[in-house]
Symmetry: C2
Subunit: 260 residues, 2 copies
Amino acid sequence: MGKPLILVTNDDGIFAGGIRELISIAKELGEVVVMAPDAPQSATGHAITIRQPLRFEPAKEFPDIEAYKCSGTPVDCVKIARQVLLKDRKVDLCVSGINHGSNAAVNILYSGTMSAAMEASIEGINSIGFSLLDFSHDADFSHCRKYVKAIMEHVLKNGMENGNLLNVNIPKLSTEEIKGMKICRQANARWVERFEQKLDPVGQPYYWLAGDFVDFDEREDTDIKALKANYISIVPAMHDLTNQAAIPDLKKMEAINVAS
Amino acid sequence: MGKPLILVTNDDGIFAGGIRELISIAKELGEVVVMAPDAPQSATGHAITIRQPLRFEPAKEFPDIEAYKCSGTPVDCVKIARQVLLKDRKVDLCVSGINHGSNAAVNILYSGTMSAAMEASIEGINSIGFSLLDFSHDADFSHCRKYVKAIMEHVLKNGMENGNLLNVNIPKLSTEEIKGMKICRQANARWVERFEQKLDPVGQPYYWLAGDFVDFDEREDTDIKALKANYISIVPAMHDLTNQAAIPDLKKMEAINVAS
């Protein structure tokens, strides 16, 4: 049995420190193929490129592995890697990140990093998105190295039952300060926005998104609670968004007769 | 009690036929405020604009209501409408669409139309995304008018229990041919992609996303099955992506000791 094939991507772009760390870890565990955006693509969610063609070219920053930078979104990167580069090969694991900034709670929806991991999971590939709670460009990823590697090793060895996608968030702490890992649910926490309104040089108004992240969830088993208690949060996620609990009440809509 | 306040948006842009139909229906049911993209934004998913400012201006195409066109994504439209236009008002219903093309199954993730509805649902607003299975620019939306109105009326009158988001897809059929409405689960159906590879004028390769939509789901209660049987599909959806079924197996990861 050969080395596992690991596809690496992110949303901060091929030049980000987080993907450099993730590639370095992945190389210790398997054969690595990288397809990452050629420019930052934060907060692009599950966007795909349908009105434009895509391009990719070798990323010479990583001369010892098969690495490419792509003109598309994170989800585009996964699609083009799977369908063009790796068409006849089985990808054993897709890892996305390490994101500069949290993707806990509802951020999973806005995040290109998590959307890339979810795209791979839709195609049946075990996938993990990693994020560090540090937005800064020069964030230090070295302290989460052991944990990221341990999680990847666990999934490569054991697989995943009843699902294939993990959202992993890592507090901004030293390896020693991190208390361990917790399997969590997605918190009911979200951005409470405001827009900064200013005038442009010709006097026209423009608006810039700003806001505070607020935790509305009192349950103890959420990702936000785990992170606040200095644990790494691991949320198993899925792309079936069906809200089964709402179905019984809605069934009465089936009786609506529009002819009446 | 005044008329309900209905926020209307879409991803095909303010000039699309689908939103024109939806606005016309909403006006029969309440006070309408429109904030829609000023250009097509299909397949933008849950993308938001964070590196650029946003602008909006009155949409003179709709002189008799409060309507605006915005430079951002569908999710941006919902955020800016809520936070700037309607900051001190309660939105009773958000409707998005009517989309030109299906948002059934996993398309809920790629769709800007559904992401806009989901954004409103995250903020606690009852929300419905409507889509017609007709991609064409000049799609005829008149035949689904009675159904769209009946669904909006039902939600305005009865609310929703255990959730606040609906993904409604409508087959391309006459009102008489539509058999009714079915409450469904999201099908395990997805795009099986290929990329068309061509050369640009200077001989460099480019890739264009193409693909076929394939239904892998044999269950009878899915949205794809309902649409094939000439029913309107209604899937209750949610933004909590936690895969509870995967938690027990993953719990053993909590015992991993990275110090060893």
